[in-house]
């Protein structure tokens, strides 16, 4: 395999895209771990449910914006056709990911409002959706790295 050096003008948008995606997954991991612990209903249920909700608001959503802005920026620099499979996978995961993220945020907010009663069904659903999002972004990462035709 021979090294390919990309044009300099692609580097900054690629950095924004990758950094946003990494922070997005990192924040989703915090949401998942905090909500999973809250669901076990040990001590600190209220703190952990609130942490999961705040990680969505302060971490996941801004990181998503950064990732998506970077994606559009790099796509416009590279002039990539949308019909390529790996680009399509990226767009599908990102678009569905936004919808699922917003639903997860609403569910986490409802779970946080329950306070010491525990996150309940809303918390359980938020946990599952956050885990699904992590897996989906893993698939997108595979597509971005290997670029299937």
């Amino acid at each position: 395999m021979v090294a390919v050096v990309r044009p300099d003008s692609w580097n900054l948008p690629l950095f924004v895209h990758v950094a946003g995606a990494m922070l997005l997954v990192g924040a989703l991991v915090v949401v998942t771990v905090a909500m999973a612990a809250a669901l076990r209903r040990g001590d600190g249920v209220e703190v952990l449910t609130r942490l999961a909700f705040r990680a969505l608001l302060i971490g996941v959503i801004p990181a998503y914006v950064l990732m998506r802005v970077g994606a559009e920026w790099i796509a416009s620099e590279e002039n990539i056709p949308d019909e390529l499979d790996w680009v399509g996978i990226g767009y599908i995961v990102a678009d569905l990911g936004l919808l699922l993220t917003l639903i997860t945020a609403v569910l986490a907010w409802r779970a946080a409002r329950r306070g010491a009663d525990g996150p309940g069904g809303a918390g359980r659903a938020a946990f599952v959706l956050a885990a699904v999002l992590i897996v989906a972004y893993g698939v997108a990462l595979w597509a971005m790295a290997t670029k299937p035709a």
Partner: protein
Amino acid sequence: MSLYDWLLFLHLLAAFLLVAGLVAFAVMVLGPSEAVVSRTLAPAATALWNAGGLGVIVFGVWLALEVDGYELWDGWIIAAIVLWLVGSGSGGRLAAAVREGGPAPAIDGARAMVMVMALSTLLLLLDMIFKPGA
């Protein structure tokens, strides 16, 4: 999929795990000060940071050996290894301190250690993308 595709995917996956560990450590140190937050996030933070760090260096070196045009003694690769060592050193100290229990914000120098981890990871990502001198 070629060997290069697999190596690149695994290298990137490891980098994502590393950053997820960093985010979890940052939340523990800079977020809510309750001990339950540290107790909850510490195992995941440590596992992600360690697995990610190991994967990044192993698959990164393998990629450098596999790809014609990259050499381990290239300036940007040496810089990456140095940044990895700095970040790993700081992360290792923080993980060891967290294992002893108690809330992470109360650990001496915890904020500084997270800052060093974050700065080295940020510079590592910039180095990987811009590849200065390549």
